[in-house]
């Protein structure tokens, strides 16, 4: 299975705007180190979830993969070709094949456009339709594939006339109309009602079945990631702490942060008195990163090495990687 997306050591640092005086007087260059070196592959038809809390860098990674934010270091390889060397034309072609679904269905559609124009926009931008008839036909098909049936009923409405779930389906229709290979879904259901979420997630999985679309699914909801993804990557402060098969991460994770996350994950059952690893404090800001392992200040199992050295991502068993000094190189006998 050839890889659709290969992220190699991605680093995204943002410069901070400070006052004029501070800029001159202070020698230190302050940056928000949103993503600190992430490597990941997504195969054809694979759904990989990036799970993390705020400050983990998951959204930034999603945008970097689609070339929507400038990268500081590292390489994104899409369908075997690096994004670095692409010229304007090639980048435009890339955009046809790699799309994004945004978190906020209330803001990600232009409120002044009718649905027809919103979904048809990719066709217009890439000059892929030549007649009005053709445009309407393709938009109708895309809408119906996204579950809005019959398509023609929706064409001339405005976004504010549709419900949240319907709007998200319109967004999906706009993303699939060009037959992409890869979609980045940034918290696509977190702003939707619970009963609507399942419909949208089912739709995404159906599209994977029918068209072989690969997904990078970004979420803070570990249980959602577990249900729909093949692989889960747990992120903390811009680095992957653990990555592996969804079942393994939920049921037999190794990293202390993963443990904590899975223990506090809400489940729909009575769970008073459940054993929960509640970490103290909150995720520190990505400007002043802790030394050594980023997680060490909050880690219940931290020891001396954790403060000095940053652990590498080690493969502890097939396709299961952990970045923690508790699992150093050479411990791969765990199965």
């Amino acid at each position: 299975m050839s890889d659709v997306v290969k992220i190699k050591d991605l680093k995204v640092y943002f410069d901070i705007q400070r006052g004029f005086l501070e800029d001159i007087l202070s020698k230190e260059k302050l940056q928000v180190k949103a993503v600190g070196g992430v490597s990941l592959t997504i195969g054809k038809g694979e759904i990989v979830s990036l799970v993390g809390e705020s400050g983990s860098g998951k959204t930034t990674i999603g945008k970097a993969v689609l070339d929507l934010v400038p990268t500081t270091n590292g390489e994104i390889v899409f369908m075997g070709e690096s994004l670095k060397n692409k010229n304007k034309m090639e980048k435009k072609l890339f955009r046809q094949k790699a799309q994004m679904i945004f978190q906020d269905p209330y803001q990600s559609l232009n409120p002044k456009d009718i649905i027809l124009d919103i979904v048809a926009e990719p066709l217009i931008v890439h000059k892929l339709v030549h007649t009005e008839m053709e445009k309407i036909e393709r938009v109708k098909n895309a809408l119906e594939m996204a579950g809005l049936v019959p398509g023609e009923d929706f064409l001339y409405h405005y976004p504010h006339e549709l419900s949240g779930g319907q709007r998200q389906r319109v967004a999906i229709a706009g993303a699939i109309i060009l037959d992409p290979e890869f979609i980045v879904a940034d918290e696509p259901v977190s702003m939707l009602d619970v009963s609507i979420r399942i419909g949208i997630l089912s739709l995404m999985m159906d599209l994977r079945e029918q068209k072989g679309i690969s997904y990078l699914f970004i979420t803070h909801d570990l249980s959602l990631a577990w249900v729909i993804s093949d692989k889960i990557a747990i992120l903390y402060l811009g680095k992957i702490m653990e990555i592996g098969n969804a079942d393994i991460i939920i049921n037999s994770c190794l990293h202390p942060y993963s443990h904590a996350l899975t223990s506090v994950m809400p489940v729909p059952k009575v769970s008073k008195g459940k054993e929960r690893i509640i970490l103290q404090g909150e995720t520190p800001d990505p400007i002043h990163l802790p030394s050594g392992c980023r997680f060490h200040p909050r880690c219940p199992k931290a020891f001396e090495k954790c403060i000095i050295d940053e652990p590498d991502l080690i493969e502890v068993s097939s396709e299961h990687f952990v970045a923690c000094h508790l699992f150093p190189r050479g411990c791969e006998m765990i199965d």
């Binding site: 929507l68 955009r95 799309q99 978190q103 990600s108 456009d113 706009g174």
Partner: protein
Amino acid sequence: MKDMKSKTKRPKLKKFLVSLRNSKMGTMGSVILVFFLLLAIIGPIIYPFNPQVFGTGREILNSPSMHHLLGTDDMGRDVLGNLIAGSRISLLVGIMATLISMIIGTVLGILAGYYNKRIGSLIMQFTDFFLVIPWLPLMLVLAVILGTSIWNIILVIGLTGWAGTARVVRAQTLSVKERPFIERAVAIGSSGRHIMVKHILPNVFPLVFANTILVSAVAILSETTLSFLGLGDPTQPSWGMMLHYAFESGAASIGAYWFFIPPGLAVVLVVLGFTFLGYAFDEILNPKLKGR
């Protein structure tokens, strides 16, 4: 299921007109402006008195009578006739100048907002120059250089009035640019030009429109001022020119109120009309302002 009946493009204009009618200011403003518009367009046809006809010596500065409803001016010309003809000029100048201002201001504002690093800074510095310079002296200088034909007046007012609009449009562009649907447009592969025209402009347009109304008021006032100061086109009987002659001929000291009050009142009413309409648009666009 939300009722999704088939729809063809239906008029948003109707909804807009209804909300306009509901606002007191909007109605008043519209009424005033429509009145003057009609006056300007069909007035000269209904009232065919030729305003250029000079009167004899006896007819100078006559008070209102059956023959001349608003009296005569310092050349014996019919004041009412001049007023009606003047409406055409004043409104024409106002609207044309506004158009120029708005186009320059909107284009520069959107460009400055979208490319808001180098290019934006440059454009904004240029804009600030125009904002800071006192407009009257600037206009006077330009009027003297370019000459005082009606088209030059329009140009002068248009070229000096765009800076405020540019600032406002830039601010709005910056805000619109951050909204997720713009990011989506980038992700789809749209070019900067496509985004600015298809996404930013329509979302900035309501603000531009409201701003236009207010700028029109200023433009008309500017024309009146220029003409009053003697820099207007002497061949065109705008209200400003009427005031100019009224002042020059000493009509005020004589007490020939019929000469200077009508044009003055007309300017005030038109500006008021635009201002009311501008407020009404503001309210419609920002429903939170209702019930101020």
